[in-house]
C-alpha cells in the first residue's frame, strides 16, 4: 500500500505483518498455533521422542493403565495395550501417520484444485461448464461413498484411502478458485493487464494468484481438518490404514475389543484426533478473523 511518507522513521507493516499482528491479538489462536507446531514437531521427530519402539511387546505388562491410576507404572506413561505395546509411543507414531498423510493430501488437493479451478475460471463457454458440472457433482457426493468405491476397486490401505480423500477435497479448492478468478477477471487491474497484451496464463500467475494466497491458506486449514477427520474415520472403519501401519483411527477400532477393561485405549487416540482438529480449526478461525480485520487499525 503506497502512503505519503513524511517521516523517515514511520514504518508501515506489510499486509502479511498486519495479519500476524492481528492474529497475535487472539490468545486462543496463538495457543492453537503452538499446539500445531508441537504436533508437527512430533511428526518429524517421532523416532527421537518416542520412548519405546511402537511394535515392541512388553508381555509382563499387558493392558497396563495410565501412570496416574493406582495400578499404573511410570515406565509406561499412558499404559499399554492388549499386546503389551506402549500406548504413548504408538500415539506419537499415529500422529505422524495421520497428520503427515493429511498434510500431504491437502497439499496435493490444493495444487490440483487451484490449477483446475484457474482453468475453469479462465475458460469460457462449453468447456468451462463441463469442468464445472463435473466437479460440482463430485463435491456433493459424500466422502465416505467415494472412499467405498475406491476401496472396492483398489482394495483397502492407507494410500487408497488417501487417494479417495484427495478426490473428495479437490472440488472445494476448485470451487473457491473458480469463483475468485471469475470475480477478479472483471476488475480494472486485470483489464490493464489485458490492455498491456498479457495472455490469460500470465494474467493468472502475475496478477490473480498473489491476491489469492490468503484464500488458499484458509481453504487449506479447512481441508486439513476435514482430511484428519476422514483419514481417521476410514481407519476406524478398517477401510483405510491396515495393521502394521499405526494410524489413530485404526488404533481406536482395534482397542474396541478391550473397551470394557481398558477404556483409556479408546479415549486417548480419539482425544488426540480431537486435539489436532481443534487446534487446526482454532488457527483457521483466528486467521480468518485476522484477515478480515487487518486493515482496520
Amino acid at each position: 500500500m503506497q502512503r505519503f511518507d513524511l517521516y523517515q522513521e514511520e514504518y508501515h507493516a506489510s499486509p502479511l505483518e498486519n495479519v500476524w499482528i492481528e492474529f497475535k491479538r487472539s490468545h486462543l489462536a496463538v495457543v492453537g498455533l503452538i499446539f500445531i507446531i508441537i504436533f508437527l514437531l512430533i511428526t518429524v521427530l517421532v523416532p527421537i521422542v518416542a520412548p519405546y519402539n511402537p511394535d515392541l511387546q512388553n508381555t509382563n505388562a499387558l493392558l497396563l493403565p495410565p501412570a496416574w491410576e493406582a495400578s499404573g507404572s511410570v515406565s509406561h506413561l499412558l499404559g499399554t495395550d492388549a499386546l503389551g505395546r506402549d500406548v504413548f509411543s504408538r500415539l506419537l507414531y499415529g500422529i505422524r501417520v495421520t497428520l503427515g498423510s493429511s498434510l500431504f493430501i491437502v497439499f496435493v488437493a490444493m495444487i490440483i484444485g487451484v490449477g483446475v479451478g484457474a482453468l475453469a475460471g479462465l475458460l469460457r463457454g462449453v468447456r468451462s461448464s463441463i469442468v464445472n458440472h463435473l466437479f460440482d457433482s463430485i463435491m456433493s457426493i459424500p466422502t465416505l461413498l467415494i472412499a467405498i468405491i475406491v476401496v472396492a476397486i483398489m482394495g483397502t490401505g492407507l494410500y487408497n484411502s488417501m487417494f479417495a480423500i484427495t478426490l473428495a477435497l479437490i472440488p472445494q479448492f476448485i470451487h473457491q478458485t473458480r469463483s475468485f478468478v471469475k470475480e477478479e477477471l472483471s476488475k480494472d487491474y486485470v483489464l490493464l493487464d489485458k490492455l498491456d497484451g498479457a495472455g490469460s496464463v500470465r494474467i493468472f500467475f502475475t496478477s490473480i494468484l498473489p491476491g489469492m494466497f490468503e484464500l488458499i491458506v484458509i481453504q487449506a486449514t479447512i481441508a486439513l481438518s476435514i482430511a484428519i477427520l476422514d483419514i481417521s474415520a476410514l481407519g476406524f472403519l478398517s477401510l483405510g490404514a491396515q495393521n502394521p501401519t499405526i494410524e489413530l483411527g485404526q488404533m481406536l477400532s482395534q482397542s474396541l475389543n478391550a473397551a470394557y477393561v481398558a477404556p483409556w485405549l479408546i479415549a486417548l487416540p480419539g482425544l488426540v484426533i480431537f486435539m489436532m482438529v481443534l487446534s487446526v480449526n482454532i488457527v483457521g478461525e483466528g486467521l480468518r478473523s485476522a484477515l478480515r480485520n487487518r486493515f482496520k487499525h
Partner: protein, 343 residues
C-alpha cells in the same frame, strides 16, 4: 422463473445421467468375474452362464448393455446381492428409510437448536454468552464423530446404563416393516403396547441423533451467527433504526429473512457431511441403515450391492442438493438470473 426451472431440471438430468453411467461402468473396474459383479450370481454351469450373459446382453455392444442396464434400473430390477442372494431393491428399500430417519432427526435438532442459537449469539455478539457459544461451536465441530459416539456409549450405556446401545427398537416389539420409519411403523402395526414401543424407539434414537447432530448444529450456529452479523451492519438496518423501529421489529421485518438467504446454500453443502456422519454412526450403533449395509457389503466384497447402494445414496444427495439450490435461487431476488446453475 421458468427459464431458471428448466436450467435446474437440465442440470439434474445431466448429473443423474452421469451417475447412472458411472454406476454402469463400475463392475468393469471391480476385481473378479464381470458377470458375477453385474448379476450377483456365480454361474454353476455353462448353460446358466450363457443364460445370464444373454440376460445382461454381455455379448452385444456396450451401448446395448447400457440400454439393458437402464431398463433394468428403471424397472426396479437391480440384481441380487452376491452374498445373501436377496433382491437388492428390497434390501435398499428396507435400509434406506432408516438412514433417512436418522438424518431427519439430526437435521431437526440442528435446525431448531442451531439456527435460533446462532441468531441470538449473532445479535448479541461480543458479550460473554456469545463468546461461550462461539467456543462451544468450534469445539463441537472438531469432534471425530465415531469417537463421540463411542464416548457416549461408554458413558450412557456402560457406566450409567441409562440408554440402550444398539439397534432401533428392542426385539420384543414386533414392529412390521411398512414405511421403514420406525415411529410410523409402530403406529401402523397396531401393537397392544404402542406407548411403550414408542418410548423404547425414542430411547434408542437419542444417542445416534446426538452424535450426528452435535457437529451439524455447531456448523449451523456458526453460519447463522456470521450471516446475521453481516446483515446487521447493512445500510437498511441502520435506516430502520433511525426511523425508530425497535430491535425486535427490525429483526422480524428486515434481518431475519435476509440472514437466512446466504445460509441456505451452505446448508445444502452440509448434506454430504451429514450423510457421511450418519453412515459412520450407523455402523457403531448397529442402526439398520444404508451406511451400515454398504460397509458390510464392502467387508464381504459384495460388488452388486456396492454399486446399487452407491447409486441410491449419491442420487439422493444430489437431488436434495440441487433442489435446495433451486429453492435458494428462486427465493433470492438479488441473485443474477442469467448466472449458470450449479450444484
Amino acid at each position: 422463473m421458468i427459464k431458471l426451472f428448466i436450467r435446474y431440471i437440465n442440470l439434474m438430468v445431466i448429473t443423474i445421467f452421469a451417475l447412472v453411467l458411472l454406476s454402469f461402468m463400475l463392475p468393469f473396474f471391480f476385481p473378479g468375474d464381470l458377470l458375477t459383479n453385474i448379476s450377483g450370481i456365480t454361474p454353476q454351469s455353462l448353460e446358466q452362464r450363457q443364460a445370464l450373459e444373454k440376460a445382461f446382453a454381455l455379448n452385444e455392444s456396450i451401448f446395448v448393455q447400457f440400454q439393458v442396464y437402464l431398463s433394468n434400473f428403471f424397472a426396479g430390477d437391480w440384481g441380487v446381492s452376491s452374498v445373501s442372494q436377496l433382491n437388492l431393491y428390497d434390501e435398499i428399500a428396507y435400509a434406506f428409510p432408516a438412514t433417512l430417519e436418522l438424518m431427519l432427526y439430526a437435521l431437526f435438532v440442528a435446525t431448531f437448536v442451531g439456527i435460533p442459537v446462532g441468531f441470538l449469539s449473532g445479535l448479541k455478539h461480543h458479550n460473554p454468552a456469545d463468546m461461550g457459544v462461539v467456543t462451544f461451536s468450534i469445539v463441537g465441530y472438531s469432534f471425530p464423530v465415531f469417537w463421540l459416539a463411542l464416548v457416549f456409549i461408554t458413558l450412557f450405556c456402560l457406566q450409567l446404563e441409562w440408554l440402550p446401545m444398539s439397534g432401533r427398537i428392542d426385539l420384543l416389539f414386533e414392529v412390521k416393516h411398512i414405511t421403514g420409519f420406525v415411529f410410523i411403523d409402530i403406529i401402523l402395526s397396531d401393537l397392544n403396547n404402542t406407548k411403550e414401543a414408542i418410548e423404547n424407539a425414542f430411547r434408542h434414537a437419542i444417542l445416534p441423533t446426538l452424535s450426528i447432530s452435535i457437529v451439524t448444529t455447531c456448523l449451523f450456529i456458526r453460519f447463522t451467527r456470521r450471516s446475521i452479523m453481516d446483515v446487521m451492519q447493512k445500510g437498511y438496518i441502520i435506516a430502520a433504526k433511525s426511523r425508530g423501529f425497535t430491535q425486535w421489529q427490525i429483526f422480524i421485518k428486515h434481518s431475519f429473512k435476509n440472514a437466512l438467504i446466504p445460509i441456505l446454500p451452505i446448508l445444502a453443502l452440509q448434506i454430504s457431511t451429514l450423510v457421511t456422519n450418519a453412515m459412520i454412526v450407523e455402523t457403531i450403533f448397529s442402526w439398520p441403515g444404508i451406511g451400515n449395509w454398504l460397509i458390510q457389503a464392502i467387508y464381504q466384497q459384495d460388488y452388486p450391492a456396492i454399486r446399487a447402494g452407491m447409486l441410491v445414496v449419491a442420487l439422493f444427495v444430489l437431488t436434495l442438493t440441487i433442489t435446495l439450490e433451486f429453492i435458494t435461487r428462486a427465493i433470492d431476488p438479488t441473485k443474477d438470473e442469467t448466472a449458470r446453475a450449479a450444484v
